[in-house]
Subunit: 405 residues, 2 copies
């Protein structure tokens, strides 16, 4: 735990338990108003009723896997439900499935692949199967300006990114909702008939103006939580690594799980990686704010060079007062993607003490990102030849329809 986070943890929880402090909107479709709040993640743990990841749990992971992933050590994954239970099951010989997803509303940016990198680490260390859901239906229902053709194109491009992360083909199945709906639909029906509109309204903020597709959708995203039990023909534990904005889905899923004879899905929640303008989580619908995996190297450099930072208006003030790395997307990107813990702490102290100027950090991030993306693009190219290894069922006509997007 670094100093900044320790400070957050030390705050009296009662202090932040007032409704008027929850001045942000976090739903699966909107994250706004909270990313400059130092206590955001503590508040979310409180609001959603999850658990923070403590040192005991970290040491258990180290005991089982032999290492702690930096994203866990740095608490990019900061919250969970039933993680200890998943480890109990694992240590008693019951292997879990990993389940995560992607809504194909745009091209993939660096913020998206961070949880996937962590998911890959979990797959490797625990040697477990992964279901990766592409919610093309959800994105079609939510973004009324997106055409089916656009979503199909993003689905294809996003699949290349997923494969490029390096998941094991023999342990990974990508589910595309509109293609694989037959597998999901019966489970979704089981879930649907146990959730009233009242419950869904409270969890997702639906209103009278919400379209009925959106209202009917949550069970489709919930169903891969139970698909492993269907595939394995026995109750099978599931662990979901995902950003915490997806939590409403897992709350309703957990509510119905035992009534349907399944385990409640366990979760490990990540923070949001802010966009380069810090206005919202990095969004691929605002491509200028985000470093895309498909950007040309010079575009990567240009975007990062024009990023907002936590720096002061002038060099003189920066030297005098120091910068604010907690409000600096460049700092966070370096911290989670490229800096070692030691290096990140040094950067933090040099910045706050006025000994580091923003240009240096931007150069560091630009150089690292450029190299990362050059390498990642090679993986994306290779991915084109192995798509059918990753798609659930892998039927040739279905794979072809993805490729012809």
């Amino acid at each position: 735990m670094n100093r900044n986070e320790q400070q957050i943890m030390d705050i009296d929880q009662n202090e932040i338990n007032r409704e008027d402090d929850m001045n942000f909107t976090i739903t699966p479709w909107e994250v706004s108003g909270g990313l400059d709040d130092d206590n955001l993640y503590i508040k979310l743990i409180k609001k959603f009723g999850t658990q923070s990841i403590d040192d005991l749990l970290i040491s258990r992971i180290q005991e089982i896997t032999g290492e702690i992933h930096p994203l866990l050590k740095q608490r990019y994954f900061f919250s969970h439900r039933d993680l200890g239970w998943i480890f109990d099951k694992y240590q008693h010989g019951e292997k879990f499935y990993l389940y995560t997803g992607r809504g194909p509303s745009g091209m993939v940016h660096l913020g998206h692949i961070l949880p996937w990198i962590f998911t890959k680490y979990l797959q490797e260390k625990f040697d477990v199967k992964l279901l990766f859901q592409i919610t093309d239906d959800e994105k079609f229902l939510y973004n009324i300006n997106l055409s089916r053709g656009q979503i199909k194109k993003f689905t294809y491009e996003n699949i290349l990114d997923i494969i490029a992360v390096g998941f094991k083909p023999e342990l990974t199945k990508i589910i595309i909702d509109t293609i694989h709906i037959k597998h999901l639909y019966p489970i979704a029906l089981d879930i649907s008939r146990k959730i009233t509109f009242s419950t869904a309204k409270a969890a997702f903020g639906f209103s009278n103006n919400t379209n009925i597709g959106m209202i009917g959708f949550p069970p489709i995203q919930a169903s891969p939580c139970f698909l492993p039990s269907v595939l394995e023909n026995k109750p099978t534990p599931v662990l979901i690594p995902a950003a915490i904005d997806q939590d409403p889905y897992w709350r309703i899923t957990r509510d119905v799980a035992e009534k349907l004879g399944y385990y409640k899905p366990a979760q490990i929640h990540s923070k949001f990686l802010p966009s380069l303008t810090m206005n919202s989580k990095m969004s691929s619908s605002k491509p200028d704010d985000a470093v895309l995996t498909t950007d040309e190297p010079e575009v990567v450099v240009k975007k990062i060079k024009s990023s907002l930072t936590g720096g002061q208006p002038t060099v003189a003030i920066q030297r005098e007062l120091g910068g604010n790395p907690n409000k600096c997307p460049v700092f966070w990107y370096l911290k989670y993607f490229f800096d070692s813990e030691k290096k990140s702490n040094e950067r933090f102290y040099r910045c706050t003490s006025g000994n580091l100027l923003c240009g240096e950090c931007k150069n560091n991030l630009a150089d690292n990102s450029k190299d990362f993306i050059i390498e990642f693009k090679k993986n994306r190219e290779r991915a084109k030849n192995v798509i059918s290894d990753f798609i659930l069922d892998g039927k040739s006509d279905e794979v072809e329809s993805i490729q012809n997007a």
Copy 2:
């Protein structure tokens, strides 16, 4: 038009336009409180905003098909939308599809097959394709006490009934929602994102306690209205023969059709065939009230013999005052299934004038029904061998899964 219906048509429409006169509940899932109301069907035309089938339309059908089906002549099919338009299209060389359906919540009874017999007549006369949807998902969502296994069994049994009616295999495709969801889902998404919860609530009477599966379901039942356009790769007219309780589905379907580039589906609405107790439309969830297609001949006779009628408490009173055929399920079953128009009119006058006792009508209905069902059962047996000819796609594993219900 027989005398009774003429009387109904003569009532001043303003008289029945008051909300307090609409003291019945008609939704796709509940029909109650109106079947003893002589003006029910006029009120429904008013309430739903449909058109009554007039003599001009009848004569157009005769002109095209060379005959008028008794169920049309007797106004069992009494209401429509865009029927004239469908005939225009047909006469200009644009063939329509027929589309109807069945919710497999129980075994099939005589009341169910009446609209199917009429649908078969339309298929033969116009030589058109028919989509027959089995909404196993809807019945699962609505009847929380029905298990998946029970619905699967009813699906199989109901398919035998559908085939036994005698549709042409080369022109008929049965769609089972949970099996063929992949064909319906993309169209349902198109529809879903154009319908708000407010709209669905107004059309279907949904509340905060309705499960979100039911709220999300209507576009699944709407999607076969547009599937012909997808299959034929051009806008294709559709005519839906169905009982008028299904009308909310077609209202929302018509609302979105043109926005999506499709024709509005035309409809021809039937009345309800009351149960033998007249309490509600004949329901297969109350098997004692209904003559099932699978009943043994002696059971058919027993059920009909113990039916309610429109008769008086004693023979003496019946002779004096006459019976009330308008409130008599035995009379309606004879009228729609077995009596010629002439015979039915004679029965009506003999009854109302006190010259006919209920025993005679019950005997007539029992004899006719017994013969009908003995014959129908033979068709059901033959249907077992040709299921795959009727199922959309007709994949062997899917057909097998239906047969193994």
